[in-house]
Amino acid sequence: MSDIAISIRGVTQRFGEEGSEGSVLALDNVSLDIRRGEFVCLLGPSGCGKSTLLNIVGGLFKPTEGSCTVDGRLVDGAPHPDKIAFVFQESTLFPWYTVIENFHIALKFQGIPRTEWDDRAMAALRAVGMASFARHYPEQLSVGMRQRVNMARGICVGTDILLMDEPFAALDEQTRMVLGEDLSQLLAATGKTIVFVTHSLAEAVFLSDRIAVMTARPGKIKTIIDVAEQHPRSPDFMLETRFSELRNECYALLRDEIRATVAAQRDPQFAGA
């Protein structure tokens, strides 16, 4: 097996017919290789196509042009649940199932034998400190707890690759920090490859091995920044000068792109997405 877990080659994504009104070029010829066990952040202004890129890697969208391979296997608009797990922005726990049933259903969808369901689910819940809430319904939990469970569900299916689409966006700053630390520890313990979409600079620097800074739409990769720091990372890392330097560097790279996005968003065609 090669060292590369995910290989994105010349991916272009256009929504709507080319040339037609309302056609949007979301991604423009994006190429990126992600190594096994690496934590890569896609950082960019809102609407730059970073979530779109993640959905393409996960096989939820089929790219207009270009290709994406995972472990040498072509992802062509079809999910590979045995290799890739998703964690979405909002908690996607099903409200009609209890926490543990939500894990069961994920494992069932993946075709994992029933005998393993409970052990795997409880192990993942213990890993995020939520084992005592297994029989609760999601709505009985706080937003932070829900997202913690949601993250654990992504981990319990045991895929090598975890795609996270702004998983902490709906959380308050403090919960975000704590979950970020948890994630860094889990990463160090499991050695998963993680692609993480965010627009939080601090989050990107704190968690990533590499940060792919994207341009305003149409999304391209502007620069890749290395963060040489061992996982698990402690909150002390955030107090180091290196941390603020990296953060500032990201911000300098992003500033123009954010302005471009804000200008473009005055045109309603660009809103959303």
Binding site: G59, L60, P79, F88, W96, E101, R114, Y137
Partner: protein
């Protein structure tokens, strides 16, 4: 509950807090109100009412015991009514859920068929009752057909509504976890529409009752409608009200059935019971 009221009971004088609790209890208030209404009816019925139009509740109960219960034909008519309602309701659920699932299946089918459903639903069906009688005759078939045509629409409409607002993110999550189309329907779309389905089932129950009883009253040979007419035309309000009371009890029992089914099948409401995984292989 007791835990919440305990500190309150300790803080004030014992008697005052007991009285406050008794009045504050919705159950006690409800029972008192019902008793008060019956007492008022009893007094009015005995003192002032014209016995040709109204009798006190005790006389109605007496008529129930002497004129309804011992009459096998009246009991048979009531039983027939129960069967008609059950048959009409079963048909409404079957067709309502199937048509609802088909119409609600996609944005396309919803756009194509839902307006037709809504148009049909809007027709005041009473105007079609003579036609229904002509088509289905004077027997139970007409009542079942009319009950069905009333009951089916609220079920369709609510099934479609329940399927419409499935969260896109839930569908995407299911797909990313490798769910097949059948998995998605069974574990995402159907559970999502359960509350909405039961809203439809409750409304459908009420409407089915209405349809069956309307048809019964309009024309019937020896059915509940026949007896109500006989009692009304012979100015005997006591057995008439007793019969209407029986219909009310039937309606309440059917509604209770729906409520019990709802409580045991709605995920959020199972919460208090011992939980076992509802995810099956």
């Amino acid at each position: 509950m007791t835990v919440q009221t305990l500190p309150q009971a300790q803080s004030g004088p014992m008697r005052a807090s007991f009285a406050r609790r008794a009045i504050g209890s919705a159950f006690v208030l409800r029972i008192s109100l019902i008793v008060a209404i019956f007492v008022a009816l009893e007094i009015y019925g005995r003192m002032w009412a014209d016995p040709a139009f109204m009798r006190p509740p005790t006389a109605i109960f007496d008529a129930f015991l002497t004129q309804i219960l011992p009459e096998p034909k009246v009991i048979e008519a009531l039983w027939m009514c129960v069967i008609e309602i059950a048959a009409a309701y079963a048909l409404s659920i079957m067709f309502g859920v199937i048509v609802g699932l088909v119409v609600g299946a996609s944005r396309f089918s919803r756009g194509a068929f839902f307006p037709i459903v809504l148009l049909l639903y809007a027709i005041p069906q009473v105007s079609l009752l003579p036609l229904v009688i002509l088509m289905f005759g004077l027997g139970p078939a007409a009542k079942i057909a009319f009950g069905f045509s009333h009951g089916v629409f609220p079920i369709i409409v609510n099934v479609v509504a329940g399927m419409r607002d499935v969260k896109e993110l839930h569908l995407r999550a299911a797909r990313s976890m490798g769910a097949s189309r059948a998995d998605t329907v069974r574990h995402v779309i159907l559970p999502h529409m359960v509350p909405s389905l039961f809203t439809g089932l409750r409304l459908g129950m009420t409407m089915t009752l209405l349809g069956v009883i309307l048809a019964e009253l309009y024309v019937s040979q020896g059915g509940v409608g026949y007896y109500t007419r006989v009692f009304a035309e012979s100015y005997s309000p006591a057995p008439l009200f007793a019969l209407i009371g029986c219909l009310a009890v039937i309606a309440i029992l059917f509604n209770e059935l729906v409520r019990i089914a709802e409580n045991s099948l709605t995920p959020g409401k199972r919460r208090t019971r011992a939980l076992k995984s509802s995810v099956k292989e």
